[in-house]
Symmetry: C2
Subunit: 328 residues, 2 copies
């Protein structure tokens, strides 16, 4: 790991300003993401490719495992036949773990989508505020006495309040979900690793049952007598996998968010604000708010012994599936 302690690309010095203004045709095409959610949209797409690679690797492993077993049988060497078959069993379990890893990555990816969806929903609030400011500036230049200015100023106050809420929701969701998504991803990485270590170590024990002492032409090899031992190693591996428990550094969360993505302790204060601003179309509320209603018991990482990441969103919320399928 002897690289720079940052991997940030230097090419995007213009993108942080671009994030504020670059929404020129976001409303024209359904598939085009608003500027604010573009980066995460792409990242989530890449994560999907990553997951597909692991799924493919898992499948290939299963195929190789059974090919190895079949090859071993065809050698008509009893020792090779037995050992190759048992190694095949371990390899296919390695493949299953790869597949489980892919699924766990997908859960983590779903958590990132919550951030992306909130980003997406915050964009119109920024746009709306900017548009009204723009309208006021134009009108002031053209008709400084226009009665419409008063209406616009009132609209701006509402839009600003709405945007203030939206931005608070965004930072709340972003911090909580980023933490949650990568806590889950690292937990999944540790799970795959620890289980595969169990399998690989028993695999090396298995190999020791294969006598590779060379013979000279015409010699007959001594009979293979390790069938039971080989079977026992598989049993040991199975037992070890069953006994496996996650032992993880705690990643606690302070995010006690209400459905409105505001802190629950401040919900009364928020209630007032919401009453005055978020009349018919509270921004960010529809997309991200619903996810947080089902904080029943949390995702897979909170089922670990020492991990209490606080309220965790389930991966499959029917509400957001339409958004999800457009991306996936």
């Amino acid at each position: 790991m002897n690289r720079a302690l940052s991997i940030r690309s230097n090419k995007n010095s213009n993108s942080s300003s671009g994030a504020r203004h670059g929404f020129s045709f976001s409303s024209l095409r359904g598939t085009v993401q608003p500027e604010l959610s573009k980066k995460l949209y792409k990242l989530i797409k890449s994560e999907n490719h990553l997951i597909q690679n692991y799924e493919a690797a898992g499948k290939e492993r299963l195929s190789i495992a059974s090919q190895l077993s079949d090859w071993g049988e065809a050698t008509t060497d009893e020792a090779i036949s037995d050992i190759s078959d048992k190694i095949g069993v371990l390899l296919s379990e390695l493949g299953e773990q790869e597949d489980l890893y892919a699924h766990n990555l997908d859960d983590s990816r779903a958590i990132l989508k919550t951030i992306r969806n909130t980003e997406k929903s915050v964009q119109p609030s920024r746009d709306s505020k900017a548009r009204i400011q723009d309208d006021i500036a134009k009108l002031k230049a053209k008709e400084p006495e226009s009665a419409k200015l008063v209406t616009l100023e009132q609209e701006l106050v509402r839009a600003e309040a709405e945007n203030l809420v939206a931005e608070a929701q965004l930072t709340n969701v972003t911090r909580q979900k980023l933490k949650e998504a990568y806590a889950a991803e690292f937990a999944a990485t540790i799970e795959r690793a620890e289980k595969q270590i169990i399998l690989a170590r028993h695999g090396r024990r298995l190999l020791n049952l294969l006598d590779d002492t060379p013979v000279v032409p015409g010699d007959i090899r001594p009979a293979y007598e390790h069938t039971n031992q080989a079977r026992q190693i598989l049993n040991d591996a199975e037992d070890d996998l069953k006994d496996w428990q996650p032992e993880l550094e705690d990643v606690p969360s302070n995010a006690e968010l209400n459905d409105n993505l505001m802190p629950s302790s401040a919900s009364q204060r928020q209630q007032t604000l919401e009453g005055s601003v978020m009349g018919g179309e509270s921004v960010g509320h529809h997309v991200a708010g619903e996810h947080l209603e089902q904080n029943a018991d949390g995702s897979r990482i909170s089922s670990g012994t020492s991990v209490t990441t606080g309220p965790v969103t389930q991966a499959n919320y029917p509400q957001s599936e339409s958004v999800v399928s457009a991306v996936a």
Copy 2:
């Protein structure tokens, strides 16, 4: 791992007999493998796909890592910017480990090729013996008194002796290399796993530097003060990776093969046999023998502290590259 303790497919009950006779058109097409090496040929091909999946996963990880860092910067939230960048560093190292794993799998795959090449080279010896037996049977039926019968019987004795050597070479190579290939593969699995555990555990520590306490609209978050701590976690991860040492169950080998794929203790006895049989075209010697000449210090698994797998073949022997490229 609650599956049957064998993964053998039941469909190939005919293949072990087929392995003896099914070489009908193996000489007509260069790419067609003789029956004997067909299964391993396919397995090695599948292993190549597996390796490609891991290479692709490694690349995708690197891309995601840098995307995450760029996204974090664009949020203009200093805490998210720093944490996402550092997580990106850990993710990219996870990707590097995935790539290293792919390379190690490729080394193991190269060891399996030694078996396949020997299988391939043994086939003509079996064919030749069978053909002479066939010729004798036919001639005996047609011209029992033919003088050619004596010549053929002499040829058969030579062919049988040659085949005896070939089959001994095959079993010697198969057992040794099977053990070696999977000892390497399991060692690589353990290496990836242990290193990724290091990275993931430090990743979870990093996440704890991100305060996800929610804010209410208009609140300003307290300044981010964990830059040094975050940097220290990366340094810790780097140190742990540097300190990593393989701790593996020993997989000792008894295979002390000479260049002729015979036990070195029996080399004198073998010398006699070889002198009488293996005149111009010793079977299996050219293809597999050369690999064993470079047993200098062994492959990557024998560089571990406790692993002494005995003579190990280097992955890149120029001699076999032509065969390799036809397969890959």
